[in-house]
Point group: C2
């Protein structure tokens, strides 16, 4: 770690002014050819690199984007993150990542930390425990915010998400046409917008096919394994247990499957599962969920990043808007 080499030093060395050095380094046309050459030569020899902190300071930009999401160890989010990184990198931005762990306080702390660290904008996938949303309002006075996947729908914010209602509708319809009638829903927590939408699609499809809605078939989960075990047992204990279960995502399905197996049920025979995420390892299972909804998390992240960059780079013309990514039903 050398003592930092500044333009000042190379200016003194060459007996020219700092601004001449500055201009020579950026090939300013109004600088003499041999002066420019002389400066660039010495800069190269000394391995001069401009101090990015000074430049950021002057430009009021850091070219850093904050990302706040529940867990980066969840494959779904890590794929989204990968999409974000790719898009940002292409535009010269870097990505600062923080996990909320689905906790409101942590989400709050993450956002304020990012702002204090001087990011140019923030991408957020909301924590499931976030009921009070005022911190987003505070933050957006400082930097633009765009939501992805777990979004807050409000004209003030950009948002990129999948059409969960349609996905749920399509999924249930598919199950009905396959002859299933007793279809249960292991849904997410109430705090997530998608939970309501998923339930709506589920109910709409049943109604559309003139099937009764059984409220006992609808369970909201808090995303802990314990709760999943509790709720799947409640379903299995019903007088008429479901034949198919729509699970919020693959890990919920896996935990529920375990319980079924322990109770002597054969997966995809006595009971089947379908899910709302399409994680790669499911293809390695002997009895994977029979259908799943691909939500294209990478695309989600990428589009959100693009929207945020627009907000940052064209603030005058930018209008917060929502982008909907069509999910795709995949039958295995």
């Amino acid at each position: 770690m050398h003592a930092s080499l500044t333009m000042k030093k190379i200016a003194k060395e060459l007996g020219v002014s700092v601004s001449t050095v500055s201009r020579a380094l950026q090939n300013h046309p109004r600088i003499g050819a041999q002066t420019t050459e002389k400066v660039q030569k010495l800069a190269r020899e000394l391995h001069y690199e401009p101090n990015s902190r000074a430049i950021n300071f002057k430009n009021k930009k850091s070219y850093n984007i904050g990302v706040v999401l529940p867990y980066l160890t969840e494959q779904y989010f890590s794929i989204a993150l990968s999409g974000i990184e790719e898009t940002l990198a292409g535009k010269g931005y870097n990505m600062v990542v923080m996990q909320s762990r689905n906790d409101y306080e942590r989400e709050l702390a993450a956002i304020s930390s990012l702002i204090r660290h001087g990011v140019d904008g923030i991408l957020v996938s909301m924590a499931s425990e976030t009921y009070n949303k005022s911190h987003f309002n505070d933050a957006t006075h400082k930097v633009p915010i765009v939501f992805f996947d777990r979004v807050l729908k409000h004209p003030k914010y950009g948002a990129v998400y999948g059409d969960i209602t349609k996905a749920a509708f399509d999924m249930v319809q598919f199950l009905i046409t396959k002859g299933h009638q007793n279809i249960a829903l292991l849904n997410g927590p109430n705090s997530l917008q998608a939970t309501t939408e998923r339930e709506k699609g589920y109910i709409d499809a049943l109604r559309y096919h003139s099937l009764a809605i059984n409220q006992q078939y609808i369970k909201n989960l808090n995303l802990t394994k314990e709760d999943t075990i509790l709720k799947i047992n409640e379903l299995l204990n019903l007088a008429t247990p479901p034949e198919v279960i729509l699970a919020f995502h693959d890990y919920i399905a896996l935990d529920a499957m375990e319980v079924c197996k322990q109770r002597g049920l054969k997966i995809n025979q006595d009971i089947s599962f379908v899910t709302f995420s399409n994680l790669s390892f499911c293809s390695y299972l002997d009895n994977p969920p029979i259908a799943t909804v691909e939500q294209f998390p990478g695309e989600l992240g990428s589009q959100a990043a693009r929207l945020l960059l627009e907000a940052i780079e064209q603030p005058e013309t930018y209008v917060p808007r929502e982008i909907v990514i069509e999910p795709k039903l995949i039958v295995r």
Copy 2:
């Protein structure tokens, strides 16, 4: 996005000097109680927040740490990343993440981008395609570098990694005592230090138990699925195919298992697998690898972060060193 609120404005508003505002905001003892109160009150009302870019600039610190790793969608790395994030967050640092995708050029670009963005230090898990290491040398003149997991062993760099030789030795010994003799190794690429170490442990254990080394049982993979399929087929086509296969990591084992199944072999009966990572979803498999090595990636990341913070915060006393995390054999 408001026009930025600076100390200057609140100073003018109150008819005091900027330095008074500065001092009042940090509760400087030599400022009058009511002045301090007055300043802090207005600052609160106006939601004043110090401009971190200015502070970073002055302090020559960004409190940002760069992390470069192959793929953040690989669970192993995302767990490491999670450990890094947690440790850094506790010390007020944020984490800037970039993927090398195992590509040398991308790794190079990532490191130089991070330096240009002004990070205070860099954590690296090397790309498998990185044969030329000079960029690390260049980079470390600007900021400290600490390696984790896929390390470059050199006195100049800090490094945190698992004792792969011992892990491989223990694993093979376990298999031998279980009565296995024909043990093959689906190893990583040659560019990774761990590949050599794993092979050494494997060979040492066989020798220790006076078993012959069969070079045909040792395969190096380039981590593509195609190559895995190729090499497992080569093993299965041998006159005496192996009974057990040590796989570099779980995804390699899964791909290899697929091939075995297609060829009519029963997993854990005709042929068994053991692996060098312990990914959560394996517990959901009907026939998971019979044993695995837990390498504690979160701990690896966390320790590397701690080491790097030491390098950053106590540069005078810091001496680059290596920290070895003992892997643990897990029998299922």
